[in-house]
């Protein structure tokens, strides 16, 4: 049974998380790319989090991320189709999950590699230890 990507909100949520994770990892390794030769670049690209779904999910996810930007900047009003509205909810859920996994530093706002980071990856602020 074919799956319409626009209707598969769970698949879209997963695709959006994977794109956000790739974007985050890409930003972190971009400096290393400048200093690397071809083999090094290949290794760095190979270390990025993989995209695991069929390609159509990512095209739809990219559209939804773009639509979210349009909405936030006022370029799109509330004239969304049902599929777009569910897609935007999937974006919101995916962002919330991504931000739970990469909490921002309370001082500089930089997203951390994980919830277990002890110091900020950007400004070096020490985080209080989490009580278990």
């Amino acid at each position: 049974m074919p799956i319409a990507t626009t209707c598969d909100t769970e698949g879209l949520r997963q695709a959006i998380i994977e794109l956000l994770e790739q974007g985050y990892a890409g930003t972190r390794v971009s400096r290393s790319l400048d200093d690397s030769d071809d083999d090094g670049r290949e290794r760095i690209f190979g270390s990025l989090p993989p995209l695991t779904l069929s390609p159509g999910y990512y095209k739809c996810a990219e559209y939804l991320l773009w639509l979210e930007k349009c909405k936030n900047t006022g370029l799109a009003q509330n004239d969304f189709t049902m599929a777009e509205a569910s897609g935007l909810m999937a974006v919101a859920e995916a962002r919330a999950e991504f931000e739970r996994n990469h909490p921002p530093c309370g001082i500089c706002g930089a997203l951390q590699e994980s919830v277990f980071a002890t110091t900020c990856c950007k400004c070096g602020t020490e985080f209080p230890r989490r009580s278990s």
Binding site: S54, P55, G56, Y57, C60, E62, Y63
Partner: protein
């Protein structure tokens, strides 16, 4: 002024195929928009993940054959039904329009190159002076294109399945009609095609889609490698 290089949109075109020292010809009347949309609906554009790579494929063969069978009359050189190779050759001519090197483009001006019809000497000619000038798309029009372009179905499971794209050609044909300002290189009734409404009414839908698609494509940036 219409020139010898202008495409006559309202006249049947003659498509000449020369093979084995013989000349064959097919006549194709102007193709209506519904027939072109049926052709676009029949294109099969897929993508699937094979290991770390994404493999994309477009199959236009069946849709092209179906289009040719409904619009072409094979009138010269045939003693029986035209062979598959000739039907495919006609399909290739009907879908030959493409946007050449972006250096030829101005803002909002899209050049097309296309093979259309044989000249009086029976040779197929490539038209290189086809220009489509557009208004700038609005954010809403951009959104319509991107929405249609992102639609797809997955066959065979969300992870290992194949993506089948629906395509945005219908949206592009509509957007062309809304955005076109003028064209060069086309004539109707022997006079240059002018005015947005007339252009929307007479323009070949394949040319519409080929030109409008470029409106939404990113411009490639020249990058110089550091020493």
């Amino acid at each position: 002024m219409p020139t010898l290089d202008s495409i006559a949109l309202d006249l049947p075109r003659k498509i000449v195929i020369k093979q084995f020292g013989r000349t064959y010809a097919a006549i194709v009347s102007p193709i209506s928009e519904p027939l072109w949309l049926k052709y676009f609906d029949g294109l099969i554009s897929t993508a699937e993940r094979v290991g770390k790579e994404v493999v994309q494929r477009i199959d236009a063969t069946s849709a092209g054959i179906e289009l040719v069978d409904s619009v072409a009359q094979f009138v010269e050189g045939y003693e029986a039904d035209p062979p598959l190779g000739h039907r495919l050759a006609v399909a290739n001519v009907l879908t030959s329009a493409f946007v050449p090197d972006q250096d030829m483009q101005g803002f909002g001006q899209i050049p097309l190159v296309a093979i259309w019809s044989a000249n009086e000497g029976g040779s197929m000619r490539r038209h290189k002076d086809l220009i489509h000038t557009f208004k700038e798309p609005t954010a809403e029009q951009n959104r319509r294109y991107r929405r249609d372009d992102s639609r797809s179905q997955i066959v065979g499971g969300s992870r290992k399945g194949m993506t089948v794209y629906h395509g945005a050609q219908r949206a592009l044909a509509g957007l062309y009609d809304e955005l076109i300002v003028s064209v060069e290189g086309y004539v109707v009734n022997g006079v240059p095609l002018e005015g947005s409404e007339a252009i929307a009414r007479h323009m070949d839908t394949y040319h519409k889609v080929a030109a409008a698609m470029q409106l939404f494509a990113p411009v490639l940036i020249d990058v110089e490698e550091e020493d």
